[in-house]
């Protein structure tokens, strides 16, 4: 630009070429003209001229130099000026551009301001939106809270309900059922729970249970009643059969014995049902029953009694109130033993007096018990109360009966494999049920017989009767009854007025003997005993006599008048 604006000015450091050329030409001219002038002056031998020429040349050179220097300076100043002008111009252009830019910037700023306003408006709107959204959110949250609270309430209600149901199942229902089982009516069982929230449910359940309970009780009662009637029938049939067995001779005796046996088995079944239904057992014995009789009483109630061998040397007796139960339990055990061993095999019964009481062992040589059977048997006779639901369709009644009787009388029953290959059952009769002197055996007639001796010996010189008096020293066990602890049976059977008294479980025929009992009771003299003996003799005689049909003697020998006569005889 500077080159452009100052076309004749050369580069700044160098003088302009025109100036240089002019200067050079002036110098050259001076250099050439000066020597020539000097030389000519000197040639002319004019030194002053030569000097003047020399001086003019020097001055020229100086003038030329100054002119050149001035020119150069002017050129430079011009150049500077031009340069400044250029700068100013460019500055002006720049300023314009800046102004333009400023304007543009101002425009931009305004638009930015507008934009900002717009943005602010936008923001305000957005803020409004946010506020609305906040409000919405708050509302939703509140709703949610409400919802949650509601859920909580529902859950709490459900919890309460569940707790209530749990309480119902754990406490209330069992209690109500227990009351019902105990025989309470539905209303009285529910009396304490009338306000119970689940009252309707409770009532429904209670009524159902109550109905079941009544049904059960009714069924049991029916069974017990039926069993009781069969028991009574069996007892009276026994009494009649016994009486017939004494009346008829051996032609009929076999049949009577068979009938007796069947009756005894039927009686046992009735007894079993009575035990299972919780009714009374068959008979009560007024006196202690000797072990042998207990064993035989049990034996008589089973089918295969002929396969049972008794080994008994004990003279102990079982208390009358428990004897029937012991017999019945023993009969069931014997029945099991005979049923589980094949027919020719025998079942052995051993009796042992132990400190704890009386141990009766029943051993068969049958199949033996399996482990599970053994456990079941043990459980059946254990101390757990009888649960009728465990009875399976009528089979295996025996052990349940044994268990019930064992619990009732405190009998201990244990099962073990027998050394003989079968099963051994040990029944331990506790000591408190066992009496040792067996007082019921032949106590009363003893003194009577002593006195009676002369009356009889007169008729018959051989000392026939007196069964126990001479035997007493021989075996002390049998002598024990001689201890005067007697007479329990006699007062038990007769009232003060001498009338026969019927015991429970006894039939009237057995309780009211024909005629001899009143005759024998009041005076136990030698005469009465003699009369009784005589009567017995004649009755025995009559038995064969009637069968042989020897008319004359038996006609007069009617039993009824015999005893009064002999009584009067005294």
């Amino acid at each position: 630009m500077r080159e452009a604006t100052s076309p004749d000015g050369g580069p700044r450091r160098r003088p302009a070429p025109r100036t240089v050329a002019l200067t050079a030409a002036a110098v050259l001219l001076a250099v050439v003209a000066a020597p020539v002038g000097i030389g000519r002056a000197l040639g002319a031998h004019q030194p002053l001229t030569a000097l003047a020429v020399g001086a003019v040349a020097v001055l020229w050179l100086i003038a030329v130099g100054l002119a050149a220097a001035g020119t150069e300076r002017a050129r430079r100043l011009t150049e500077d000026l031009a340069a400044q002008h250029d700068e100013t111009m460019t500055a002006l252009v720049v300023a314009g551009a800046a102004r333009q830019a400023e304007t543009a910037a101002r425009d931009g700023a305004s638009s930015a301001r507008a934009e900002r306003d717009a943005a602010r408006a936008e923001q305000a709107r957005a803020e409004a939106d946010v506020t609305a959204a906040h409000a919405e959110l708050a509302r939703l949250r509140a709703e949610l809270d409400a919802e949650r609270a509601e859920t909580e309430a529902v859950r709490a209600a459900a919890e309460a309900e569940r707790a209530e149901l749990d309480r119902l199942a754990d406490g209330v229902l069992p209690e109500v059922v227990k009351k019902l089982r105990g025989g309470a009516a539905v209303d009285s069982a529910l009396a304490a729970h009338r306000t119970h929230p689940q009252h309707a449910l409770l009532r429904a359940v209670a009524e159902e249970v109550g109905r079941g309970e009544r049904l059960r009780a009714a069924a049991l009662a029916v069974c017990a009643t039926a069993a009781g009637r069969v028991q009574a029938l069996a007892t009276s049939m026994h009494a009649e059969l016994r009486e017939m067995q004494h009346r008829h001779d051996e032609e009929v005796l076999g049949d009577l014995l068979r009938l007796d046996h069947s009756t005894a088995q039927a009686g046992r079944m009735a007894d079993s049902i009575a035990v299972l239904t919780g009714a009374r057992s068959g008979r009560r014995w007024a006196k202690p029953i000797a072990v042998e009789s207990v064993l035989r009483g049990a034996l008589g109630r089973i089918g295969a009694y002929q396969r049972v061998r008794l080994h008994n040397a004990s003279t102990a007796a079982v208390a009358g109130f428990a004897a029937e139960g012991v017999m019945h339990a023993l009969a069931e055990l014997l029945d099991n033993a005979t049923n589980f061993s094949a027919p020719p095999a025998e079942v052995h019964v051993y009796v042992e007096e132990v400190p704890a009481g009386l141990a009766i062992t029943v051993e068969d040589s049958g199949l033996g018990l399996s482990e599970s059977w053994l456990r079941r048997a043990e459980r059946a006779v254990s101390a757990e109360p009888l649960d009728l639901t465990t009875l399976s369709a009528g089979t295996r009644l025996g052990l349940a009966v044994v268990g019930a009787l064992a619990r009732k009388h405190g009998l201990q029953i244990s099962f073990r494999p027998s050394a003989r290959g079968g099963t051994g059952v040990v029944m331990l009769i506790p000591q408190q049920l066992v009496t040792h002197p067996a007082p019921a055996l032949a106590t009363v007639p003893e003194p009577v017989a002593e006195v009676a001796r002369p009356a009889l010996t007169s008729a018959r010189p051989a000392p026939v009767p007196l069964p126990l008096a001479p035997a007493a020293p021989v075996v002390p066990a049998q002598a024990a009854p001689a201890v005067p602890a007697p007479l329990p049976p006699a007062p038990a059977r007769l009232t003060e007025s001498g009338l026969p008294q019927r015991r429970r479980g006894q039939t009237l025929t057995t309780a009211a003997p024909p005629t001899a009992a009143p005759a024998a009771k009041p005076v136990r003299t030698d005469a009465s005993t003699a009369a009784a003996r005589f009567g017995a003799f004649r009755r025995a005689a009559q038995q064969t006599a009637t069968s042989a049909e020897t008319p004359p003697t038996t006609d007069t020998d009617t039993t009824p008048d015999a005893s009064p006569v002999t009584e009067k005889d005294s």
Partner: protein, 122 residues
Amino acid sequence: MSSGPVLPGRDDDPDRLYTITRGRSRSPENAFDLVTLIVAEREPAPGMQSEHVRILRMCEAPTAVVEVAAELALPVSVVKILLGDLLETGAITARHPRFAPNKARLPDLDTLKQVLHGLQRL
């Protein structure tokens, strides 16, 4: 069993007759009649059936079958079975009274009847 004057046929004992005879209803041999005298030859052994024991005690002196039956309060046929058992084991012997010579010395039936009537009238 023998308490007081025993009434035969009285059902106050749990023993049934077939358990006493172990099912037999007639004696295998006809060794006894009502007046056969029984004499015990041995002491009763422990473990014996109680009826056997009592028979042996009773028959230490000779006793008639019918008296044994009366004492035991058992039917004669049952007693005969029991006696048959004892006879088999040799625990008793049975003596039959000889009727022929005795019969001559016995008072006749009419006299006895009169005596009986006389007794009854007392």
